[in-house]
Symmetry: C2
């Protein structure tokens, strides 16, 4: 579906008009939950998840039948500063791997029955090295937001946004620092696995970017320091809100992109849960800033949407219990 905005102002207006969760559906789900054949609260966070999901889907007894995973790939001029253990060619190579079904995210989508789409965002034209100039023009930012928005299937009932982009933990750290405050060291981690010298280099690069592009506007921070795949994730998460599709956030890069929305319009992520805590050092601080507790903590730091895709199963389990279980009355079970 084509994105309904042509300017950043129009995108901001869409965020400001974000639809709310359905209070009637939430109350219906709470009422149902209290009648199910289990001790009160015995399913823990699964109960909260199911009720939250019901509210966004507008029904007290929802199902998950069409989860979608969308992966965006971008290349980063800042790779010229030696911030990654992998060469930039790997971005396109991994996109081919996604398309041929060989990556981790392909296997997870298959196991959990999710549709998977891959969007490579002009990989042959990397963003500008943000230590030299803004990473993107306003037109490039809008185009990436539009690509992200249009990538979301309005018929999906659960969305995961993943990414691939050599150098993008550096871009994400810079965006997180600009949007949430704090210095470069706080937000910069080892990414796919740089050593101590590599980490020091990344921190210095992020600090230079922050010094060059001081701004209090989150979307300007995304334009100057981010990348096309980060902007596309932000666009997709905003589109999901527009369609009332619940979102599972992935790791550090996804959450940095999501933070741009939350800081542009507080509450913009109310339709999103945190799928997992990544092993990327600053992810916990990012989740804290977003006020999201992760569903999983298994030490993943791959990106691709992999941690969030694994959490699809948690949502599926939560919603299946909520909507499929018998009530005490239906089952003839004494409720204590």
């Amino acid at each position: 579906m084509q994105a309904p905005f042509e300017t950043l102002t129009a995108f901001r207006n869409l965020l400001a008009q974000s639809p709310a969760s359905d209070g009637d559906a939430t109350r219906a789900a709470q009422h149902r939950n209290a009648q199910l054949t289990k001790p009160p609260a015995a399913l823990g966070r699964l109960e909260d998840l199911a009720i939250w999901y019901a509210g966004w889907r507008g029904t007290g007894q929802p199902t998950i039948t069409a989860p979608q995973v969308v992966i965006f790939a971008g290349n980063h001029g800042v790779c010229a500063q030696g911030v990654s253990a992998f060469p930039p060619e790997v971005t396109a190579q991994m996109v081919a791997n996604f398309q041929h079904g060989g990556a981790a995210i392909n296997q997870l989508c298959k196991v959990f029955g999710a549709r998977m789409d891959v969007h490579a965002l002009t990989l042959d034209v990397p963003t500008v090295d943000f230590t030299q100039a803004p990473a993107m023009t306003e037109e490039e930012l809008i185009a990436a937001l539009q690509t992200g928005w249009a990538a979301v299937d309005p018929q999906a009932d659960l969305l995961v946004t993943g990414e691939m982009g050599i150098g993008n933990t550096t871009a994400a750290a810079a965006v997180a620092a600009a949007v949430l405050g704090g210095d470069a060291a706080r937000w910069t981690g080892r990414g796919t696995g740089v050593d101590d010298a590599g980490l020091a280099q990344k921190i210095a690069v992020v600090a230079r970017g922050l010094a060059l592009h001081a701004t209090s506007d989150p979307l300007m921070a995304l334009r100057c320091l981010g990348g096309r795949e980060l902007a596309a994730m932000a666009g997709a998460i905003a589109a999901a809100r527009h369609y009332r599709i619940p979102v599972i956030l992935d790791g550090f890069i996804c959450c940095a992109a999501a933070a741009v929305l939350e800081k542009t319009h507080p509450g913009a992520l109310d339709h999103a849960v945190a799928g997992h805590l990544s092993a990327e050092g600053a992810h916990q601080a990012l989740l804290d800033a977003l006020g999201k507790a992760p569903l999983l903590n298994l030490g993943l730091r791959l990106g691709e949407g992999s941690g969030a895709a694994l959490a699809i199963a948690v949502l599926q389990g939560a919603v299946a219990c909520h909507s499929g279980m018998a009530t005490f009355a239906e089952a003839g079970v004494s409720d204590g």
Copy 2:
């Protein structure tokens, strides 16, 4: 498959002869893992799980196609001491709910493609109140161990043991205390939700049981303080080891039963992982005693095998990534 033991001595001998993981398969899986299209260790615990699973299944590139969830139900004489918020009739009512597909575990098995079997263990003859006399005779203990063993499908490739039994957190606390040491208060929790007075009563009841049935033999502790569903879970977990079927342990009651095996024969649980951390207070201490880190921590305290069933998805994801991903060479991706 009929259990290959008629006496406790024969059961102990089977534990002592527990087969080991396949070293060649483990090494083949480690070798494969190092070649997959991802940065080293980027899938975190999923990588360890896949390699561990490969070792037990005896192949470097395994699949999960036949997970089995077995639920055992038992009634407890100790309910006469007022240890549960629910009446004992609920055990049979919930068994009927399992059989009709209305419980949480039914929904989870459906979502994750697991076969589910329910075994009600002479619900009309509860165990003896352990504050008065041993809960079971030796014959009853052996019969329950045999039922558990025979319940395991030798063709299954992943096993979850669940339970239902009003009063069984009290029995499990007594078994845990007897087997692992520490006083009644350390191991006794709120179960399905007793209040402060109920908790104090449970602790007093467990303490009386421990005073009456002092023993250093874990299987005797299981007989005197446990219950048929705990014994059946122990039998099933032992059978899984015999068949080299990996096991996902559930919450407090399952882990108390499993601890009997580990303390009878150290290493008896090497084929098992902890599916989740339950909200039942002493589960963390029990997992610590077993040396198992839980895969999930979502505040569940339902039993039925529900937390472990949810963790089936984590294993499925881990094994799917391991066995389905392309290698760097296959995908033509530069490996850094």
